[in-house]
Symmetry: C2
Subunit: 281 residues, 2 copies
Amino acid sequence: MNIGIVGLGLIGASFGKSLKKLTDNKVYGFDINPDVLLKAELVGAIDEPLNETKVADLDLLVISVYPRAFKEVAKNYLSKMKDGAILMDFCGIKRGIEEDMKELSLTYPHVSFIGAHPMAGREFSGIDRSISTLFEKATCVVVPVKADIFTLERVRDLFLSVGFSEAVFSTAYRHDEIIAFTSQLCHIVSNAFIKSPMASSHFGFSAGSYRDLTRVARLNPTMWTELMMDNRDLLKNELDGLIARLLEYSKALGSGDEQKLYDLLKEGSDLKISIDKGKIR
Amino acid sequence: MNIGIVGLGLIGASFGKSLKKLTDNKVYGFDINPDVLLKAELVGAIDEPLNETKVADLDLLVISVYPRAFKEVAKNYLSKMKDGAILMDFCGIKRGIEEDMKELSLTYPHVSFIGAHPMAGREFSGIDRSISTLFEKATCVVVPVKADIFTLERVRDLFLSVGFSEAVFSTAYRHDEIIAFTSQLCHIVSNAFIKSPMASSHFGFSAGSYRDLTRVARLNPTMWTELMMDNRDLLKNELDGLIARLLEYSKALGSGDEQKLYDLLKEGSDLKISIDKGKIR
């Protein structure tokens, strides 16, 4: 396939690197920042810059930009894309993208539209942190907006070819609902956790649990503000649920209710064990 | 040295294994559970069971039991210990232990008393999960209660010999205050986090941040109830601080205040970067 990638940040550039390392697909790329585009060629994230004439040859165009930029970026390419080509996006929320894609598909019915969210990331951003192994054993959530089953199979096979363990098909709402918990809430908790007055004293007094809890406190605030704000109904629901649960522990501590604290801790621990065993799915 | 270890759980047995693997010290052990004691010999966590006659030969006795059991267990051994021997405990909170040790030192002035907390752990407990590499590159917090500088040097050297990177000396209060944040709060957050109704749906929709945030949701509820309850003043303070901070994010999401959410995220991210660089100490 001829594959274009627009937006060569951590995810876009890692996807390019993994495609070039593990497949025979030809990879064209573009980034709004000319330095990043130049670097992408130098570090082997793309074969060539994606110019106007190349767009017509693409079988797949991946748009890996912030969610609110998606529609305008897509419009720049859609009219030049060939019949049967696939337009895919890679951002971390999907309801807005689905709306955008539905709207665009009315004007550009010759193209397939698929939302995707690679379940992989790092606490760093940008092409300098991109790695070809980022997607190894990760899943990719796929939200089909306008695509037939053969197109979805091609996309799934492509994901498997760069190391993903599985393509998980989902609706946009279900994706956003689960991701509010599995990803967005983690980032808020970690980010709020590190603000304890004790944090700067942790040296020598911390181990794995501190390291794990604070890892994603570091984030790209511009991108995450957009992701979180555009999912704020579901995210606030998750966050308020967590706050309510934390208040139960606080109450048990405050009143010295040992049995209650034990019950709370045991419930969480048992649940974690069950979930890890895949008993509750 | 002749070293005794009472309580052959994850920490006690790992300490025994690391002593036997990395040093020439002789390791005697005891556990209230005869099966565990037998297993400790079989898996190489101790050289021999610690019997009454051996206690008199010990240079160091490590008591690695739940905090509330410490005093009674210590009393079983102290009168038999030789002049200049060291009694050390390994539990996760230190103010209560310090009180116990001060009291015991009046009756048993011939022994040195030192509190210690190895900053290492796993989300599993028990001798079956013990490993000789548990303390590699970890720090050990040392709370001297009654010990001269030469004794403290011996203890520090012993910790370094089994792989610890550093012995960090602290007061009991300072230890409990920092640990409330770096360890206890992590466990509560993780334990409460996993109770989201979304948790059982995470398969395929999660990656590193979910994995890290939920790792220590699994815990030994009996032990942690005791550790947390006996540190509840400081822990509740940390927990309520976190809840207050999380409410700020919730408020920004609820009101759609994008600038505020950005400011909150950036503040946390900048702080994490600074702390990791060790700029704020």
